[in-house]
């Protein structure tokens, strides 16, 4: 990454985003320890309102909403990270190949991404999830598939941009083997845009995973997953809003934090990018 760490906290939005993400992470890690009840313990009346014993009331079955929130922070967190990471690795590999390979292969890969990009991503995910089933690992895989075409296009573009620069040409003339050129010359120079895109995918993954749970294709009950909690308690939204509202707020904060960080980092990157690009092309 080409920006220095001290530059990070200067962006106010970036700082707010990092704080939110840190909060979400701590909540997920410490939650299960702090929760007063098990996530599936029936401890109160269905939809009982908030009280001293249960700050956010009870859900449609009479489970403590606070306990379920504390237990359930981890699923959307690891699943969104895993799907963004899987999409990054697979997509970058294919994209770099396309950027390196001949015209034919490149065109075939680009057309392939066009085909996949014709499906609205949630539709593709629904199609595959209904096929594969709702194991958490399979859901992660499916969400990753929907994001791969975007990564391929990005990785291809930046690879082509870097591959024609002087230092790559020099390495080629010096007779370095292709893997060395790839890992030592090209990869370090395309890492930043790919990492910025990773952040953006993370924000998409959060809303897609929560949306899947909301539609009933996410992790199976009685897990304390946030999207599932919204789904389960949606019937009571009008009269007993707290049981559905609390997970809504927490997903919202997570999504907002991830967005602010992704935005802040890409803005920083753009600023540094224009500086270096300007310098690089002056000569």
């Amino acid at each position: 990454m080409s920006f220095t760490l001290p530059a990070l906290p200067r962006e106010r939005q970036l700082r707010l985003g990092l704080a939110l993400l840190l909060g979400v992470l701590l909540f997920a890690l410490a939650g299960p320890v702090l929760a007063p009840h098990a996530q599936d313990a029936l401890v109160g009346q269905p939809y009982a309102p908030p009280s001293g014993a249960a700050w956010l009331g009870y859900d449609y079955l009479g489970r403590d909403v606070v306990s379920r929130l504390l237990h359930g922070g981890w699923t959307v967190l690891w699943m969104s990270l895993a799907s963004a990471l899987a999409a990054l690795l697979v997509g970058a590999a294919i994209g770099i190949l396309a950027g390196f390979a001949g015209r034919r292969t490149d065109q075939a890969i680009v057309w392939g991404t066009d085909v996949l990009l014709a499906f609205p991503d949630l539709i593709l995910v629904l199609l595959v999830v209904s096929m594969l089933g709702r194991e958490p690992g399979l859901i992660v895989l499916t969400v990753a598939i929907a994001f791969v075409p975007g990564v391929v296009r990005l990785a291809r573009g930046v690879t082509m941009g870097v591959a024609k620069l002087e230092f790559v040409e020099a390495a080629r003339l010096l007779g370095y083997p292709a893997p060395r050129i790839l890992f030592r010359e090209i990869l370090p120079n395309i890492a930043t845009p790919l990492l910025v895109h990773f952040g953006i995918m993370l924000t998409w993954a959060i809303s897609m995973l929560a949306g899947l749970s909301l539609l009933g294709y996410g992790v199976a009950p009685p897990a304390a997953d946030r999207g599932l909690m919204i789904n389960e308690n949606r019937a009571g939204l009008v009269l007993h809003p707290w049981a559905a509202l609390a997970p809504v707020v927490l997903i919202g904060l997570f999504a907002l934090g991830a967005n602010l960080v992704a935005e802040g980092v890409s803005r920083l990157n753009a600023r540094i990018g224009t500086q270096t690009r300007g310098n690089g092309h002056a000569g």
């Binding site: 991404t113 629904l126 296009r153 999504a255 907002l256 967005n259």
Partner: protein, 362 residues
């Protein structure tokens, strides 16, 4: 990558991380033909994906139709009648032939033609989509230009922060928030669910359309406003605009004659990209509001493993995305004089993906 102001103007439709995504191009007819050919090939590939995916669904249509009590023999006979015992490529060829004639067979769930279900729902979805676009496009142009003119001012900063909030929040959170505010205790003026009367046009029942429309508008508005704003700022800072300013052209003329028309090109591509986002986002919004559109129909078809309906809807949606992108590329060429008249126009591959990467997407 030399960037002379005059090659940038008009040619520039966006910027991806490899640098400029430029449109340089042909007398546009060969381009159009090639573009159409690619579109057809894409739709063909989409049919293969849809067919393969629905084949892999863990259910047997014959068993679904006859129910769990039917004997194995009866199921086997029906499988023969439905052609399910033939090799897959043969089944695909038959299916494709029928699909081209808009025949997807009967819904496994409700025993009417799958296409008739889709037709009813498609009308409702189309009304919703067109309404969303009719609100979003003028609004994002106005807002984008207004913010670009006041860039880094107080209004700009407040609005941009607000837009980040709406961009960050998943569609269903906006939907639930709107329901809580406008359909429950706080300000109960609108219905929480869109129980359309199917015998009347959705437009005759506007109260049911308001919340779904507002949700979808809010979820795509940030992307488009930022696109317009960035486009206008880019042109306003270009050298040729500075030259025109020095020649004494009024700011108003600069804005409306130079900046806005040039910012329209990326906006057209951006709107095409939102088609994909809208169709996906509509599934969740339609389900949350119980709006009887394509998205909620797809959701229940998947639940019921109603393969003909799933096939018809996914093909229709993917086909729509291909069509919208094709139209957007044509409009882009028409809006850009250099492309319209240049000797050899070609859209660089990846130009549209650049939009997604520069902040589009969900």
């Amino acid at each position: 990558m030399t960037s002379q102001p005059f090659t940038r103007r008009g040619l520039l439709i966006g910027e991806d991380l490899e640098g400029r995504v430029a449109l340089t191009v042909p007398s546009w007819l060969p381009w159009l033909l090639r573009r159409l050919l690619v579109g057809v090939a894409t739709v063909f590939a989409i049919t293969i994906i849809v067919f393969a995916a629905t084949q892999a669904l863990p259910s047997d249509p014959a068993r679904v139709i006859l129910g769990p009590e039917a004997t194995e023999q009866a199921v086997a006979v029906l499988r023969g009648q439905l052609g399910l015992d033939r090799p897959l490529p043969v089944q695909y060829a038959h299916w494709l032939g029928d699909a081209l004639r808009f025949d997807f067979g009967r819904s496994l769930d409700s025993d009417v033609e799958a296409v008739s279900i889709v037709r009813d729902r498609f009308g409702n979805s189309l009304v919703l989509m067109l309404l969303v676009l009719a609100v979003t496009i003028p609004l994002s142009l106005l807002l984008g230009v207004a913010l670009a003119v006041r860039r880094d001012g107080r209004l700009d900063r407040v609005a941009m922060a607000g837009l980040i909030l709406f961009k960050a929040l998943p569609g269903f959170i906006l939907a639930i928030g709107l329901i809580l505010i406008f359909a429950t205790n706080i300000l109960p003026v609108l219905p929480a669910v869109s129980l359309l009367d199917p015998s009347r046009s959705p437009l005759a029942q506007p109260a049911y359309l308001v919340l779904p429309t507002v949700t979808l508008v809010l979820s795509i508005l940030p992307f488009l406003v930022r696109l317009v704003r960035a486009g206008v700022i880019e042109v306003l800072e270009a050298d040729y605009v500075a030259a025109a300013r020095l020649r004494g052209l009024s700011e108003r003329r600069l804005l409306w004659r130079h900046a806005v028309p040039n910012a329209l090109v990326p906006t057209v591509q951006g709107i095409a990209m939102t088609a994909r986002v809208l169709l996906g986002g509509a599934v969740i919004v339609e389900v949350v509001f119980s709006y009887p559109g394509l998205g909620s129909a797809l959701n229940s078809a998947i639940e019921m493993r109603d393969i003909p309906v799933i096939q018809a809807i996914t093909l229709l949606q993917a086909g729509l995305v291909v069509l919208v992108n094709l139209l957007a590329d044509i409009v882009t060429v028409l809006l850009t004089p250099r492309l319209r008249t240049a000797a050899r126009p070609t859209l660089k591959p990846g130009s549209r993906a650049a939009w997604k990467l520069s902040g589009g997407g969900t």
